[in-house]
């Protein structure tokens, strides 16, 4: 059958055959001693190297997942020297050659993570154990990213996180084998705070509706800190169940609470629903405390903005990146992605693409796929040209330090993709923070664990 992708390697036959014969008793000792020693997990021996894409193709973040997949396929094509080469020419410094990674052609396998941590881990395990993936990347929720990054640490495989915004990913749950290019909730707060002060004044009362799980909590905390630093008061912070669908019972108390700003710490479909419903409650036509009532969505993407339709107009939030930025990197990526798929890329696609290139570049610089060396190459690496200005992969927490965007829903979109306006680029100096505030422990890179 064609299902069998790698065929019967000698090692597999030996392993399974022996295992069947030896049975339960002796088996544990034989395999864990690494009898068929690879010096590390999935060391690519042939002329290809396989990357595992762990993407939510169904579930709440399916749209982001589909966009990420396009970007990964594009990045892999570019690494193999196909297409127009995309960002390879603008990355500085670069060790990329356009001839694969270390001369090996890049291949990929995918797995649908269904936006669930359990499934994401199972998929990653499958890609590592069966398909021999040297690196896992993807994910569109923080729960997924943290779960998979823990697994990768166990198996000794590098994880390049996709879209994950929680402070925990590179904070209290950071891992030596996990790397994040995307920004986090804390940086959203830093970026959004001053703009909110400028636009809405310093005398405001904010009402938070927060998705009741870890990402929501970290964002609520970060937004509270940022707005209270401006002099705002927090009227109330209410937790809503994930996937509540109908938020009306949480929206009615907002009306007469004395608050004049509603901050929606929701993401994905929850955000689309709560924003749509808040606007149906007439919140943006109201006045409170003699001021116009405002709604703020601290994190949104152009995909969510599309989902919310015209409800998003004029609403402030933050983004990691947007396709109509005018630096050479962004222009090159938008052009390359648009030519391939007929639509501009989303921020999820951007971070996916950049992560793939950064991994390849680190391997080239290290001269080996051996994970501890690749980790060293990534830690403290500084690069430019990827659309976020000069960027540092910080060694202390594996978080990229770069500029982020404050965006606003476009009042007069010229196309269905033109939904956001960039209000301000908050530069890297402003968004840099002390990694110690979130605690956590990266753990060691060596000895490299051996997978199956």
């Amino acid at each position: 059958m064609t299902l069998l992708k790698r065929g019967l390697s000698r090692r597999r036959v030996l392993q399974t055959g022996m295992a069947g014969i030896i049975g339960t008793g002796i088996a544990p000792m034989v395999f864990t001693k690494g009898a068929w020693a690879q010096e590390f997990c999935n060391n690519p021996t042939g002329d290809t190297v396989t990357i595992g894409l762990n993407l939510p193709l169904t579930g709440a973040y399916a749209e982001e997942g589909a966009d990420e997949q396009k970007a990964y396929e594009l990045a892999i094509a570019h690494l193999n020297g196909e297409g127009d080469g995309g960002l390879i020419s603008v990355l500085t410094p670069t060790a990329l050659t356009g001839k694969g990674i270390l001369g090996k052609k890049v291949a990929f396998v995918t797995s649908d993570s269904q936006t669930k941590s359990d499934v994401a881990r199972a998929g990653a395990t499958r890609m590592i154990e069966r398909d021999g993936a040297i690196m896992i990347t993807g994910g569109s929720s923080s729960g997924e990213a943290i779960a998979v990054q823990g697994l990768c640490q166990e198996l000794g495989v590098i994880f390049m996180a996709g879209l994950t915004h929680s402070n925990d990913t590179t904070g209290k749950d950071k891992r030596r084998y996990g790397f994040r290019h995307f920004f986090n909730a804390y940086q959203s707060g830093i970026g959004l705070g001053p703009i909110l002060g400028q636009e809405y004044g310093t005398d405001r009362r904010a009402y938070h509706l927060t998705a009741d799980y870890t990402w929501g909590w970290t964002q609520e905390e970060s937004m509270k800190a940022a707005t209270e630093a401006l002099g705002w008061q927090t009227a109330e912070a209410v937790r809503t169940p994930l996937g509540a669908a109908d938020f009306s019972q949480y929206l009615t108390p907002v009306l007469n609470s004395g608050a004049d700003v509603l901050i929606l710490n929701h993401y994905g479909n929850d955000m689309v629903n709560s924003l749509t419903q808040a606007i149906q409650f007439g919140m943006r036509d109201r006045e409170a405390n003699g001021k116009t009532f405002e709604i703020v969505v601290p994190l949104f993407s152009e995909l969510m903005a599309k989902g919310a339709g015209e409800n998003i107009k004029g609403i402030f939030g933050t983004s990691n990146w947007h396709w109509n930025l005018q630096d050479p990197g962004s222009i090159a990526f938008t052009k390359s992605f648009g030519a391939a798929y007929g639509s501009p890329p989303s921020q999820a696609a951007h971070t996916a693409y950049v992560q793939t290139l950064l991994y390849a570049d680190a391997v080239e610089r290290a001269g080996t796929f051996y994970p501890p060396e690749v980790i060293k190459a990534l830690e403290g690496h500084e690069f430019d040209g990827m659309g976020n200005g000069r960027t540092l992969y910080r060694a202390e927490d594996h978080q990229c330090m770069k500029s982020i965007l404050v965006v606003r829903g476009n009042e007069n979109p010229t196309s269905e993709y033109d939904v956001l306006n960039v209000v301000q680029e908050v530069d890297r100096e402003a968004t840099t923070y002390d990694p110690a505030i979130f605690g956590g422990d990266l753990g060691p890179a060596e000895p490299v664990p051996l997978c199956a």
Binding site: M1, T2, L3, L4, K5, L8, R12, T16, G17, A19, G20, G23, T24, A27, P28, M29, F31, T32, L57, T58, T110, S111, D112, K116, S117, D118, V119, R121, A122, T125, R126, E129, R130, S141, S142, G143, I146, A147, G150, L151, Q153, E154, L155, D168, D173, R175, D212, Y213, T214, W215, R239, P241, L242, D441, G443, P444, P447, P449, C451, A452
Partner: protein, 382 residues
């Protein structure tokens, strides 16, 4: 093995061999890698346990995922607080999920029929919703409960320093990754299967079947059926807890999603698909669904294009487009269709199909319709 009929022993031995040889005979199906094999074992245990309740007593629980989840959480906490050894973790998980099942079972079994189903569903959904949100200090919510370097692990610390690197569960110091983990789980599936076999054939099992066929009559003959159904409920809850703990052993993370009602629905699907009330059926159902979920869902258009390559141009493209609706992301559609067909045409699940085929061949020489439940064919259908 005392007092087992020849058929039972054959069934048990056949099952054991089929399970232990899985890494070999699943090779051509692309499923012989440790993670999936472990899942085959774990969900096999889950389904066997569910069948003790549903297959024997007829009580349809829609909340068994809660016990599975509780088992996982208990096991991970045992890893965190006590020791990385799998044995105490599993013992605790079975005990805690048993107690949990006792409480929920005691309340839910006051009603029967769909009212019972809704009660179990309600309890499980409450557990899930709370685990995801307010119980986050215990469950770590969305992120899932994971092992960290800083865990206390009091018992392990007494015996010296922890190893460097990410902590992983062990068995007496041996790591349980890969095929070792598979054989560990396989051992438990075989034990679980054996116990289920003994229960089915015991007087207790007969009593449960009596409750299924006519509870009122059982009551009138002077039996108080409640303790029996409750015992079945608790046993199947402990099976679920064991399965949850094994999942945490092979992959030390406990997420709230595994308690959602869809996860409870999945074990119902497994049991029915294979054949409720039979011993092997639920296991086969579990294997089939996990196979679909992991292998079918990973088939993409490139693979399909290669598969249909032999067709003439244009036709192969059409074949790819049509078949891609049923594999990859569409695997659930295939599962739904198969499921509807099974329920409509084979209410006894795959095992009934096997029996019918076996009957076709056997008819000429034998007319005796077998005593009670004919021992299902031990060969693992694929």
């Amino acid at each position: 093995m005392l007092a087992m009929s020849r058929n039972d022993i054959l069934l048990f031995l056949g099952f054991t061999i089929a399970v232990l040889a899985m890494p070999i005979w699943l090779q051509p199906f692309g499923a012989a890698y440790p993670d999936l094999l472990q899942r085959f074992m774990i969900f096999g245990i889950f389904a066997v346990g569910f069948n003790i309740l549903f297959g024997l007593t007829g009580y349809l629980s829609f909340g068994h995922a809660a016990f599975f989840g509780v088992g996982s959480y208990t096991a991970v906490w045992s890893f965190k607080l006590l020791s990385l050894d799998a044995i105490p973790a599993m013992l605790f998980a079975i005990a805690v999920s048993g107690v949990f099942a006792l409480v929920i079972g005691y309340l839910s079994l006051r009603r029967s029929g769909i009212y019972f189903s809704i009660l179990t569903l309600a309890f499980a959904q409450m557990s899930y919703n709370l685990a995801y949100s307010v119980l986050t200090p215990i469950t770590n919510g969305e992120t899932g409960l994971q092992l960290t370097l800083a865990d206390p692990r009091h018992v392990d610390r007494m015996f010296g320093e922890a190893m460097p690197g990410q902590p992983v569960p062990t068995l007496l110091g041996q790591s349980l990754g890969g095929f070792a983990g598979f054989y560990f789980c396989a051992g438990f599936l075989i034990i679980a299967f054996f116990i289920a076999q003994r229960i089915t054939n015991s007087p207790f099992g007969m009593m449960l079947k009596g409750i299924k066929s006519n509870q009122t009559r059982m009551n009138y003959t002077g039996f108080n059926t409640k303790p029996y159904t409750l015992a079945a409920f608790v046993i199947s809850g402990m099976y679920a807890g064991l399965a949850g703990a094994l999942l945490a052993v092979t992959d030390p993370l406990a997420g709230a999603e595994r308690m959602q009602w869809t996860a409870s629905g999945e074990v119902v699907l497994m049991t029915i698909l294979g054949g409720a009330g039979t011993l092997v059926g639920p296991v086969i159902g579990a294997w089939l669904i996990k196979y679909f979920e992991n292998i079918f869902s990973a088939i993409n258009e490139t693979i399909l294009a290669r598969f249909w390559d032999f067709l003439p141009d244009g036709l192969d493209h059409a074949a790819v487009v049509v078949s891609s609706k049923f594999v990859g992301e569409g695997w659930f559609l295939t599962l739904g269709l198969v499921f509807v067909l099974i329920v409509v045409f084979l209410p006894g699940g795959i095992m009934e199909g096997v029996r019918r085929i076996a009957h076709l061949f056997n008819r000429p020489d034998k007319s005796s319709p077998s005593q009670g439940k004919a021992a299902p064919q031990p060969q693992p259908a694929e």
